[in-house]
């Protein structure tokens, strides 16, 4: 399963980083330099191609064009409100998904019977592309703020729940034996064993859920919004302003990277919890 597989990869990655102190940091410095060189060289080639007129900058824009679009957007004074429009829907939907997903996942993992009932549903809903529900959701909710929040919610809630469930399942039996030997009550066991044991997986679920939720927020804005980054891209596209559209895409990339990096840092603080 994705969640477990990813967790394994990350554990391996964490071990790699930790093992060879000096060598490792040397490598990550090297990685940064080559990463920057890779990005810059593509941008330079892209810029040259459009400057020499080999490709039309109307169709694919150019790095310079994107920077100009960014400046226009910034100077118009509505840039922050566009970003906030997307971010507020994204964060609201994600917060609801986190609250519901974590509780459902933990309880399904902790109670055998709830787990038996909930797991088939979670797996089913997890494999359905939520975006396919859009036509029905429009009928139910119309096109508005609620619709957008619900799309964001549905895009991430099952990821979060499945990861929390996998987290509980991954708690080693020996910890439950300790709780049993010291006669911990079910509530104490939940508090001292299940929640902390599943915590690293919950964070992984939140990180994956956050990026899925951002996709949901943008798709919702394509369909049903009069503000936000997704809306900005739609308008720019339909008026052939590719530079503005590309700038919107870059903004989304930045949001995704910032949130992902933030959560990854929080996750790495709990690496010690994964090792036994």
């Amino acid at each position: 399963m994705t969640a477990a597989g990813q967790a394994l990869d990350e554990r391996a990655a964490a071990q790699e980083d930790g093992d060879d102190g000096r060598l490792g940091s040397g490598r990550s410095w090297e990685r940064l330099v080559w990463g920057v060189i890779g990005i810059v060289s593509v941008l330079v080639v892209w810029d040259l191609l459009t400057r020499t007129g080999l490709v039309s900058d109307v169709l694919i824009s150019s790095p310079g064009g994107v920077v100009r679009a960014a400046r226009i957007e910034y100077e118009s004074g509505i840039l922050w409100s566009e970003i906030w429009a997307t971010a507020s829907v994204w964060l609201t939907g994600l917060a609801l998904a986190a609250a519901v997903g974590i509780v459902v996942g933990l309880v399904s993992g902790a109670s055998r019977i709830v787990g038996h009932v909930a797991e088939p549903w979670l797996r089913l809903l997890y494999s359905i592309p939520e975006l396919a529900l859009i036509p029905i959701l429009i009928v139910w909710l119309g096109l508005g703020y609620t619709f957008r929040v619900v799309i964001v919610f549905l895009s991430s809630v099952f990821y979060i729940a499945i990861n929390a469930l996998a987290g509980v399942r991954a708690v080693e039996n020996k910890y439950f034996e300790v709780a049993a030997v010291y006669h911990a009550s079910p509530i104490s066991t939940f508090r001292t064993v299940i929640i902390p044991g599943a915590f690293p997986y919950i964070l992984t679920g939140l990180r994956q859920g956050a990026s899925r939720a951002l996709v949901g927020a943008v798709i919702a804005e394509f369909l049903a919004a009069n503000n936000g980054i997704g809306f900005m891209i739609t308008i720019a596209g339909s008026t052939l302003n590719t530079s503005r559209a590309m700038f919107g895409v870059a903004l989304l990339g930045a949001l995704g990277i910032i949130s992902g990096e933030l959560l990854r840092r929080i996750e790495s603080r709990f690496d010690g919890w994964r090792v036994s």
């Binding site: 020996k174 910890y175 034996e177 006669h183 001292t192």
Partner: protein, 271 residues
């Protein structure tokens, strides 16, 4: 064998304990224990050895109420296991410390689960942490500790509830040979201070002889007691006792008992 115990001072009494369980994957029934009887006097250190898979850990888990015997009875101080829940503690084979708690909180776990408030638990755990030699590490996390240190916390967690009976399940098996020897000596030092009744499972014969007032030898599965050997070596014992002639005689004796058992099991259908 010499097992001069009077019921008055008896602590743990196991009578004709049998335990069968179903193995789901093979649809087979396993008989782990049959007719196991054992009495442990208060304040003694009893070690238990037996061929691997003989059910010694199963017996320990039955005393810890992690599994239920299907026959016989186990009592502690004349009362049932359910009535004496808070008089037992266990030291696990794998240290099984919660990675999310500090040394102090791990050691205080048993007390906290008994409803002792955080401050009092911390105060009660301090001297125990000191006794196991971990003063200064109260705020450390388990992953920052070596295997030997983790086992000290495992022991502190059990001792801090001041149990009447301490169950130890091969706690040094995963340690390297040097650390194991050192921890055996440390355990003797700590036990001399607490004098709690101990049932200690091991597969290392020298460990069993070194630590035990008695070595109980189990048969291969289904496990029952085949020999109960009092170890008459002076206490306190330091590691030099392992070079004593009597020490090797005890080792020889237990070895031969186990070899006979293994051979019987190998020739098929005994016990």
């Amino acid at each position: 064998m010499t097992s001069a115990t009077t019921t008055a001072s008896a602590d743990l009494v196991a009578t004709d304990v049998g335990l069968r369980y179903q193995v789901a994957s093979r649809k087979a029934e396993v008989e782990a224990l049959r007719g196991l009887s054992l009495t442990i006097r208060s304040g003694t250190f009893v070690t238990m050895v037996g061929p691997s898979g003989c059910g010694k850990t199963t017996f320990l888990k039955a005393v810890a109420e992690l599994v239920s015997p299907t026959a016989g009875s186990i009592t502690l101080g004349g009362r049932s296991l359910q009535e004496t829940r808070d008089q037992r503690a266990m030291v696990f084979q794998d240290a099984s410390l919660f990675p999310w708690f500090t040394v102090e909180k791990n050691a205080a776990y048993g007390l906290r689960m008994r409803g002792v408030n955080a401050r009092e638990a911390r105060a009660r755990v301090r001297p125990v942490i000191e006794m196991v030699g971990l003063a200064g590490f109260e705020k450390a996390y388990p992953h920052e500790l070596s295997g030997g240190m983790q086992q000290r916390v495992n022991l502190a967690r059990a001792l801090s509830v001041e149990p009447r009976l301490l169950l130890m399940d091969e706690p040094f098996a995963a340690l390297d040979a040097q650390t194991r020897e050192y921890m055996q000596a440390e355990l003797m030092r700590i036990w001399n201070q607490s004098r709690v009744t101990v049932l200690f499972i091991t597969h290392q014969i020298d460990e069993a002889v070194y630590l035990g007032d008695r070595v109980v030898v189990l048969s291969s599965r289904p496990g029952r007691v085949v020999a109960d050997i009092p170890i008459e070596l002076d206490r306190p014992r330091d590691l030099r006792v392992k070079r004593d002639k009597r020490f090797s005689e005890y080792e020889e004796q237990i070895w031969s008992l186990l070899e006979i058992r293994q051979a019987e099991a190998g020739s098929g259908g005994s016990a």
